[in-house]
């Protein structure tokens, strides 16, 4: 389980997260808030990309800053821009890249990569140049790169912000079917429909933490 205890974060002398305490046992947790409210900072702490200046973050009891490698084996992360997440020329090679530590045999790695692609809407794309995929397909590829490692948790930071409506739907459908716990940062409130819990951030503070209905209503009043 993921938990934050009295977490604050400061860049230079600006406080961007202020005393956040959360335990997140639910399978689907959404995070909403204005630009700059601290969502990405909070999300990045889960796999050690950001180290809190105060307080502690725990993933199954592990500290992402000192047990980074162990935590990153449990936590996958999908970023906003798929172009920055793809590191190999073809879709298959890119997914295989994730498997390089666990599957030593090259042929087996390629076969496993093709399976992961096929299971998530990219059947037959293993040999396709990754940079010629559509934006939506690229984001699915980034997702596959993470799912190949079979994490327990998937953190997604605005994964659909650069996608059109149709690809957003597709991404959301695939996300909904995953066995993993999902933490989703998003501005697309429709994506949170089936969620268990939504956390609203404002100026680095948790201002609402509730079921999607009331939390989103609160958020709309906050911005409107």
């Amino acid at each position: 389980m993921i938990s934050y205890r009295a977490v604050s974060h400061r860049y230079d002398d600006r406080t961007v997260l202020d005393d956040v305490t959360l335990s997140l046992p639910e399978a689907r947790v959404g995070f909403v808030g204005a630009n700059g409210s601290g969502k990405s900072t909070l999300a990045r702490m889960v796999n050690g990309l950001v180290r809190p200046t105060h307080g502690e973050v725990r993933v199954d009891g592990l500290d992402p800053t000192s047990d980074g490698a162990a935590v990153r084996r449990r936590v996958g992360f999908v970023f906003t821009n798929p172009d920055s997440q793809i590191v190999m020329p073809t879709a298959g090679e890119d997914v295989a890249f994730s498997l390089r530590r666990t599957v030593k045999d090259r042929a087996e790695r390629a076969a496993r990569a093709a399976e992961v692609l096929a299971a998530h809407g990219l059947e037959g794309y293993a040999d396709h140049p990754a940079h010629q995929l559509s934006g939506g397909q690229k984001q699915l590829l980034a997702l596959c790169g993470m799912l190949a490692l079979d994490p327990d948790v998937l953190v997604c930071d605005e994964p659909t912000t650069l996608l059109d409506l149709r690809n957003t739907r597709r991404f959301a459908d695939i996300l909904a079917g995953l066995r993993q716990q999902v933490l989703l940062v998003t501005h697309d409130l429709d994506l949170l429909a089936g969620f268990d819990r939504v956390v609203v951030l404002d100026g680095g503070v948790v201002v609402a933490d509730d079921a999607p209905g009331p939390a989103i209503r609160y958020y709309r009043e906050l911005v409107g």
Binding site: F77, F79, V87, M88, P89
Partner: protein, 208 residues
């Protein structure tokens, strides 16, 4: 968008040549071209690379892409050198630039990255006991080749944006967003790599 750094499938002898020796030849050619400053010799090197293209027969569109880039570079850099230094220096710079870049493009056009990474890992395996980590270097090669395509794509979209704003050929309208976007890309790529466990290999070795 069609990145320069991408493999173009084929069956020519250059395509079939093993990646390791091919990479070595490329390194030798590039090194020689950079250190020699004899115009006749450099022209010969350009000719040799041209023969390589004739043998590999990559699609015309791809050759044209490479040629166009080289032409622009040659005119720009050559012109600058001609103006600042003189004709001899300009010829040497342009010829070595063209020979080195054309040879590197020929290599990426005819070689799969997967094969390059495997060759580098194999070739550097014996250095492991000196603390070199071949996996890391293999990844580095893969990423470097990818970077060529990414930079080309960023350049193309920045140029489009400049044209759309009516800033046509203004160098600052190009340079500033190009540098900003390249840095942002590097930043995001670094985070994505960390999230995918690059750099965690040492911990694996410790814990087994």
């Amino acid at each position: 968008m069609n990145p320069l750094g991408l493999y173009a499938p084929g069956t020519s002898p250059l395509h079939r040549a093993p990646a390791g020796p091919k990479l070595l030849v490329l390194l030798v050619v590039v090194t020689l071209v950079v250190v020699r400053s004899d115009v006749g010799w450099l022209a010969g090197a350009c000719g040799l690379v041209a023969v390589g293209y004739a043998v590999a027969r990559p699609p015309w569109a791809r050759v044209w892409q490479v040629a166009r880039l080289l032409l622009v570079l040659a005119v720009f850099v050559g012109g600058l050198q001609l103006w600042l230094v003189g004709p001899q220096a300009a010829a040497v710079t342009v010829l070595s630039l063209v020979a080195a870049l054309a040879a590197a493009s020929l290599f990426t056009l005819t070689t799969r990255i997967d094969a390059v990474v495997a060759a580098v890992e194999r070739g550097l395996g014996p250095l492991r006991r000196f603390g070199v980590r071949p996996e890391r270097l293999g990844l580095l090669v893969g990423l470097t080749v990818q970077a060529v395509g990414t930079l080309a794509a960023i350049a193309a979209s920045v140029r489009e944006a400049a044209v759309a704003r009516g800033a046509g050929r203004s160098p600052t309208a190009f340079a500033v967003p190009f540098v900003v976007r390249t840095l942002r890309h590097a930043d995001e790529l670094g985070e994505a790599l960390a999230a995918r466990g690059v750099g965690d290999e040492d911990a694996d070795e410790r814990t087994g």
